[in-house]
Symmetry: D2
Amino acid sequence: MTEQEVVQIRPTADQYAWTFGGAAPIARVRPGSVLEVFTEDCFAGRVRTKDDLVSQVCQFPFLNPQSGPFHIEGAEPGDTLAVHFVSITPARDWGASTTVPLFGALTSTHLTATLQDPLPERVWIWQLDRQAGLCRFAAVDSDATVDLPMDPMHGTVGVAPANLEVRSALVPDAFGGNMDTPEMRAGVTCYLGVNVEGALFSLGDGHARQGEGETCGVAVETAMDSVVIVDLIKGRTTPWPRLETDEYLMSAGSARPLEDAFRIAQHDLVQWVAADCGLTQLDAYQLVTQAVESPLANVCDTNYTSVAKIRKSYLPGWRSRYDAHQRLRAQAGDYLSRR
Amino acid sequence: MTEQEVVQIRPTADQYAWTFGGAAPIARVRPGSVLEVFTEDCFAGRVRTKDDLVSQVCQFPFLNPQSGPFHIEGAEPGDTLAVHFVSITPARDWGASTTVPLFGALTSTHLTATLQDPLPERVWIWQLDRQAGLCRFAAVDSDATVDLPMDPMHGTVGVAPANLEVRSALVPDAFGGNMDTPEMRAGVTCYLGVNVEGALFSLGDGHARQGEGETCGVAVETAMDSVVIVDLIKGRTTPWPRLETDEYLMSAGSARPLEDAFRIAQHDLVQWVAADCGLTQLDAYQLVTQAVESPLANVCDTNYTSVAKIRKSYLPGWRSRYDAHQRLRAQAGDYLSRR
Amino acid sequence: MTEQEVVQIRPTADQYAWTFGGAAPIARVRPGSVLEVFTEDCFAGRVRTKDDLVSQVCQFPFLNPQSGPFHIEGAEPGDTLAVHFVSITPARDWGASTTVPLFGALTSTHLTATLQDPLPERVWIWQLDRQAGLCRFAAVDSDATVDLPMDPMHGTVGVAPANLEVRSALVPDAFGGNMDTPEMRAGVTCYLGVNVEGALFSLGDGHARQGEGETCGVAVETAMDSVVIVDLIKGRTTPWPRLETDEYLMSAGSARPLEDAFRIAQHDLVQWVAADCGLTQLDAYQLVTQAVESPLANVCDTNYTSVAKIRKSYLPGWRSRYDAHQRLRAQAGDYLSRR
Amino acid sequence: MTEQEVVQIRPTADQYAWTFGGAAPIARVRPGSVLEVFTEDCFAGRVRTKDDLVSQVCQFPFLNPQSGPFHIEGAEPGDTLAVHFVSITPARDWGASTTVPLFGALTSTHLTATLQDPLPERVWIWQLDRQAGLCRFAAVDSDATVDLPMDPMHGTVGVAPANLEVRSALVPDAFGGNMDTPEMRAGVTCYLGVNVEGALFSLGDGHARQGEGETCGVAVETAMDSVVIVDLIKGRTTPWPRLETDEYLMSAGSARPLEDAFRIAQHDLVQWVAADCGLTQLDAYQLVTQAVESPLANVCDTNYTSVAKIRKSYLPGWRSRYDAHQRLRAQAGDYLSRR
């Protein structure tokens, strides 16, 4: 293995991007590079106490600051970007979650418009014990507390969209973006179809942990020190974001209504399984039907995101068309052993 | 512990019910009774070979035959029925799955109407190795095979609906019914609100295993020999079906579009957690947001079903308002030890 | 023309039906009969003043009382019932509308569940000037008033459902029911597929007028003196409710989400136009696309209802397969001239 | 009245914009200017015969070419742009409509993904008789023909989006865009909230006529010679596109699922009526419920569009907060009389 190129990025306040597409790259990196990236939390670090209400301290659309975009050398439309998450580590010993007026799944919103009053605005500060791997919930209306396992992840991982578009960093879609899936943890390789030259990859929106669906719209938000390896798979298209771990293949569909997000993810997983296993579409449909796990990612963002995941051990004759995860996994091990 | 009342039910072909509500009870049982029930598969046993196409051998609405209904003595509107699944065992060494024209998530349907042709109709016969706990997928268009773990469950568990209604056994709703969640396995206690005198509980639609979402609309369908304990919780209402295991609390919402099913399940779990833990609604909203798992159940039936589940160990000060699962679990152990 | 059979029905308080299906017929009538029917308002007449809040004076599910069901002699599954509305006349000089907690399009509901408080409960009493054909809106929070044209219609028109089901009178579906379309006015012939012997037709839920979508969930509700002719078209199926006027053909689809209701109505109209005009499905698809009007009916009920309507004058070579509307129109003229 | 500034625009092939936002203005115009604009059809003029299949002659995303954008001098975020349609005249004596694979309401799509084959691809060429005001449907699979009234409109009318976004010209949203409502005809004033300096207004996608919902996804597409007056209302925000005619106020909501588009439009109309009539929100809710017309615009685009319209004559004490339509109407009369 050749010497790894390691790029360290800690954006200054004015360097963050607020969109996928439409922002100038902050760095050009070669495929195979290791990125050591600091990401700010979704509030741009402005919610620090129980009194920092989002409606008062944050200014739309300056949410979900993106570290990036990175121009990946040689990336062209028709290629696939592979992003391997080596590590995701909270950069602070606390995280914040909130209600946001007219945002979340159990409230009316600007799109699901009703004449009712918004829910009250609240802030929960979660203490993060990074040694023990715990994050502590403390109720705001009583003394109740409980420790939950930390499970760090990135809410946003994406590239520039197709069709000349520029999308807010709050949007998940075929280009990735604000998918908010807890599956985006260390050990995962995320595949994203390249839509523009250089791909223009960015990430952000770290969560110390998040439930499936991100019901109130906000996870345990915190800054992250993350390490990712970016690689390029030439000449292979990827219609919707895909994830691979040692155990699982996963597709992530984003749309509204939620059944369309489900359909996209399942449809893509059926195609993926059919292609990698040499099954017909109908046989893959049957196998996926009986074997799939279908955890929701978010049911609060501009598009909802549904994940379809299947164990590799359930796939007869599986052979990866990407042929990237094992290699990146090894490179990650190499990186970690040198650190 | 007193002597358990054990009721054995193996319906004759003309004894099955095809609806929730509207059918005369086949037995009256006392709360606390153990039911040893045979359930026929969703096809009423008519799909046995690759040539038994549903459109030819089945006759709508004679699908999802229900074993029951059982009149539970003393059950009245305002009570909750607790159904504990002691064991669910395939009664045959094979199961069947199929495509059904204009049914399933990755096809247009009678409700999501398009002008396209239906998908081709296929039958997959799965061999069940009950000793090894495996079910074998065999592709129909190639020689590929793979073994998946058996994970027996019931697709339909329900009571008579409210509001004078009678619903097809293919429908999931607030009364339970065709929820098709893989969580309905042995070890689970299912809570259902009672809508009519006697509750009129029934079950059916056994699956040797099923992926989350039941994507093609049909699981690995098989007849079951199941044992359930039915118990009654007087004076406690349950708005939507709830499940409890040793580790988890779960709510199941059924509606369209899928985000409404999600909202119902999450909303109900928030209320449940708030009540059992003495948290305010907003604190429970925050805790559930970060702790919930949200696997889909079905995205193919008349209503879609979404499950919200939370680990009991994540609940500060949790104390069950039902106070039934541990007792039923003990009773099940007693039953099993005597068998 | 033979002597018309005229049946007069004014149900007593305990004679109303609250479901489609599941209720014993209150009369048997021959095809071609004229029914002079009184229908009570959706509140069963209990909302009479601004202080009669629905949550206090009404008891779920005793809403939308149905006059009927009528057993139509000779009606069998596979036939179509034709119901021609001769006249619909408010039986009182006032109507009532209200907000209902957690019901309506611009509020969360039991299905679109949120943690917000319900909207305030209000009653608006509308004065009906039947001579002038006007109904008067009077604001409750100011002195503003305005007169709108009266446009009497029936919210519920339906038969017993298929598949052994019994549905609440609040539900619209393939059997008709609570479609809440303003198109259901005098002069219309409504076609409904027969699902059970005798069809078991009923109607109710009169509105002095209603906007398209019934946004707050409640129209200008009033009792009606209505005259309908019921006729039978043997051996012709009708998959979803269809309406015919002198000028228009219309299909009504009911489902959730709303796009599925739209798809059903448009799909059915495409099939209807293709069959009656001898066009291929694709040619009918093109013609309907350019010619259709698509007013919403309700976006508040258990299912939402979307109407697709096309002018007969836009249909090349149109010839009615039902061959009923003109005949019923003539019979209505005959009836009116004798009255 | 001062001399009108008249700007004539006929873009060259490389001058069209394919997005809302993100394109450099082709002209700067002063508020009150008359724009005489040529717009190319949605296919960029590439579908001319029955053999010009969209999948072969068009290249995504080069659809819906926009004439514009126009920088409106003085327009700033927080203002409202008023666009008055003086005339919309087909520039050719034919229009084209087509099926497009996996696009339209009665087919699965890339978002409503199924495993079925796409519908066959067809082209219908409509002859336009501009003198008689007729467009002629000719079936492709038979000899059937029929004349429908011409009713020219623009499918796309919009400004640059908020939140730093750039959206495809195929998207309708709060910035307007591809709403595809037949209400966008001559005589209408369209109000659009300004999101960026200069507003960056553009229009295109002319239809000789279109049914409500644009069921197959494509109207009778044709190039247009259109005249619009653009004006600026300083310091008034407009959350969603609004339309005003001599008779009606209308709001247009765009979202998925379709009920959310409905909610947005109705919610906005309730707010508009409440503000202009001095009614409380609940009184306006009641009045809109009984008076509104709710025609669908499109149920095929990236977002669906629903229109809520109410007669001005039904509005007690109505007084326009925009105070623009009558003035623009007069200016249009003045322009037409000089031509």
